[in-house]
Symmetry: C2
Subunit: 447 residues, 2 copies
């Protein structure tokens, strides 16, 4: 798969037409999420760093031109005008980790029209999915209320590369580790993991399995106790840990059943055995709802492992995102059809205390006490600064979460803040709407 041809065909038909019509004036496109999915009080901006990596390498080579021609069933010569095209535009974007809300641009591209169009699919495919997953993972962090979380999602994400991203996004919002070895290496995240039920089953008994595991892995171990009968598994694990003189750094893992009740009984057994420092890890179909319930009922669980539902953002696996043209050649534009009206013009989000945001025009005077969310991250097709770190993104996330209103933090019934709209943006929207409606009327008359 070429990084350039992993695109929707219509980006190419349009870009080619723009070149042939000599329409190379600067265009600004705005990438935003129209509405938050139910069950979300905020989104976590994510995917920008990988998207900028891709953009800075974006260049149409000869093999790409050949694939374009094949797709359009036209001679290669017809597609030659696209050969050598690369991205030399400006990108303003919300840095990863910041919280964003409905209608707020995550990113704006300003570039010669054919370039700005040709990168649409790439930008959407990085930012939408990653923001969806980061937002789900962030809710788990809120639900866990300070207890560590780890990512077990790789086996259920939409392919291995999506699993790499999930591990990164979980780390971005503060997870303590991932089971994904390649992601741990690539993103410098602690790797975590223990054993599967199959491990226990291959030995003549649970106890022999635990002892063999401890032989192979000297030092602290985590023992999976629910292969046969969980309560008995806990007793066996306690006996093995005690016998080996292990304790601090060790854990048992519960992966099925009533995790809260099992954890309480397991805690009692471990404490009774003098294993107060042995921790309890819970896994098995958990997401923010399950974690929240267990935390609220006071379950003595020390670490939550979440996977499937977080790595696939299962209850909101996509976002209602758009990449919309908002200005071309200095002229603000908008789309009118149905309910999907988009506000015209390059924008900025001005963030006040308590995440009270105002969506305004990029050249609005910043309201007092606000900071602009979109920063220039690429100019003339080059990054304006070195790639961001996960630590920096996590710090931004934590600062925004600390300021998030209570109702947006709710796990059960979150209510996201509604950004205000600046008076200049409102006035421009009304003016452009009048202009566009007048033109639609003329066309309808056949003029």
């Amino acid at each position: 798969m070429s990084e350039v041809t992993a695109t929707d065909l219509y980006e190419v038909t349009m870009a080619l037409s723009y070149l042939r019509e000599d329409m190379r004036a600067p265009a600004t496109f705005s990438l935003f999420v129209r509405d938050l999915p139910p069950g979300r009080g905020f989104l976590v901006a994510a995917g920008l760093e990988p998207a900028l990596d891709r953009l800075s390498r974006f260049r149409v080579g000869h093999p790409d031109v050949e694939e374009f021609a094949e797709a359009l069933r036209r001679p290669v010569e017809d597609l030659e005008p696209l050969h050598g095209l690369f991205f030399e535009g400006q990108v303003r974007a919300v840095p990863e980790g910041r919280l964003v809300f409905a209608g707020e641009p995550l990113l704006e591209v300003t570039a010669p029209l054919p370039q700005a169009q040709l990168v649409e699919t790439c930008l959407l495919s990085f930012l939408c999915h990653q923001t969806a997953v980061a937002s789900k993972a962030a809710r788990c962090v809120l639900a866990a209320a300070g207890r560590p979380l780890v990512d077990f999602s790789l086996r259920r994400t939409h392919g291995p590369e999506a699993g790499m991203q999930a591990a990164r996004l979980c780390a971005l919002v503060g997870f303590a580790g991932t089971s994904n070895i390649a992601a741990a290496h690539r993103y410098d995240i602690p790797a975590v993991g223990t054993m599967a039920h199959s491990y226990i089953e291959t030995f003549a008994s649970e106890e022999r399995a635990f002892r063999a595991f401890a032989r192979t892995h000297p030092g602290p171990v985590t023992l999976l106790v629910d292969t046969y009968d969980t309560d008995r598994g806990v007793v066996t694990a306690a006996r093995v840990l005690e016998g080996l003189g292990l304790g601090p750094g060790c854990a048992i893992r519960l992966d099925s059943g009533d995790l809260g009740a099992l954890a309480r009984r397991a805690r009692a057994v471990l404490d009774e055995a003098g294993l107060r420092e042995v921790r309890i890890v819970a896994s098995g179909g958990l997401d923010e709802y399950g974690v929240d319930r267990l935390v609220r009922e006071g379950a003595p669980i020390d670490v939550f492992a979440v996977g499937t539902k977080v790595g696939t953002a299962a209850d909101a696996p996509y976002l209602d995102a758009a990449y919309k043209l908002v200005e071309y050649d200095g002229r603000p534009v908008m789309k009118l059809s149905s309910a999907k009206v988009t506000a015209p013009g390059p924008k900025q989000v001005f963030r006040g205390p308590g995440l009270r945001d105002v969506i305004g025009l990029a050249d609005d005077e910043p309201p007092e006490g606000t900071e602009p969310l979109l920063r220039t991250v690429m100019r003339d097709g080059r990054r304006t600064k070195p790639p961001d770190t996960l630590d920096a993104a996590r710090a931004r996330f934590e600062a925004d979460v600390a300021a998030l209103p209570e109702e947006a933090r709710s796990i059960g019934r979150p209510a996201p803040p509604l950004p205000a709209v600046s008076s200049r943006l409102a006035a421009l929207t009304a003016a452009v709407r009048r202009r566009v409606e007048a033109r639609a009327l003329e066309e309808g008359d056949g003029r």
Copy 2:
């Protein structure tokens, strides 16, 4: 990302332990979906071909060993026993395109225990996600009742590689094309696509935009008519097509609003203009539910473009799948905890007429009139035959769909067939359960 280290850490801790304990006897693992998600009357087996590609290349190299050691925070020497390990086992699997139901193995691996364990994450990450997406796409095919479908999902799938897979899976179940140029090239699928709203907006009028597009793309074009006022857009499109003498092969695309009502009015306008051969393409948030509603109300829509909800399998983005040890060293095994009991022993699915299936043991005598679903696709780590084609998979899909009971085809309230269990499998399950329960009891007593 190394293909080997894109794995859960616990596969490595277990494989290492097996090697150290000299547990290299053959193990059989069974990959199956426990229950179908709500809204599914069947699953379409998918992901096998890419998974076999990966398996046949699977070999632990020195850089992998270094990543393993880093993940485990142990010296590289400790991980050396894994160096050079490759997959030399047998794989029996349901070929892509066949319909499968709850509890039926999609795939069984038999290999020396460390190998069979180490490939778990890889197999799950290919088969689960791809089966989920193929099954969603297949329901769209049923809903469209013979009208062509095209895939527009790339921008919302979980990254570009997931988009490649989505395009392939849509083609596998019979879609007519994809917007994804790279996937069209890689999998030999017709590429489709037209223009975005932004294209219209960059011109001084809708009509000028249509004319410019036709100049760049001589021959049949598809015109997007809902940027401003859809009914007027249709009139303008008809005028342009008529003026250019175009018709057959051309289309208009509706992307928002009441698609059924708009299509009816558009059809009347086009027919009135003598453009009976101009087709109507509908897109915009469609999946099998939307397509089914439009088909039932008799909307004159000729082609359905589906994207987001299909490429993310939005209402069931993951499957409740497991990779379970069912036999080790000739001894059938099972897990007992909670409700997740798994049946022991290597299995076969015997398919009778009308997709009446019996899940049995691999060495069961096939019931009369049935065919076995699992075929040997890999032996000694090598494919038993050349890679399967999409055409062959599609033919299998179509044959199984033709035999699918009506209640499983329902879009609104599908009821999947429940496979029967062979008497030998039932007897083995009962016997192994007694053995395992007896052992659990012994262990709980501390013996």
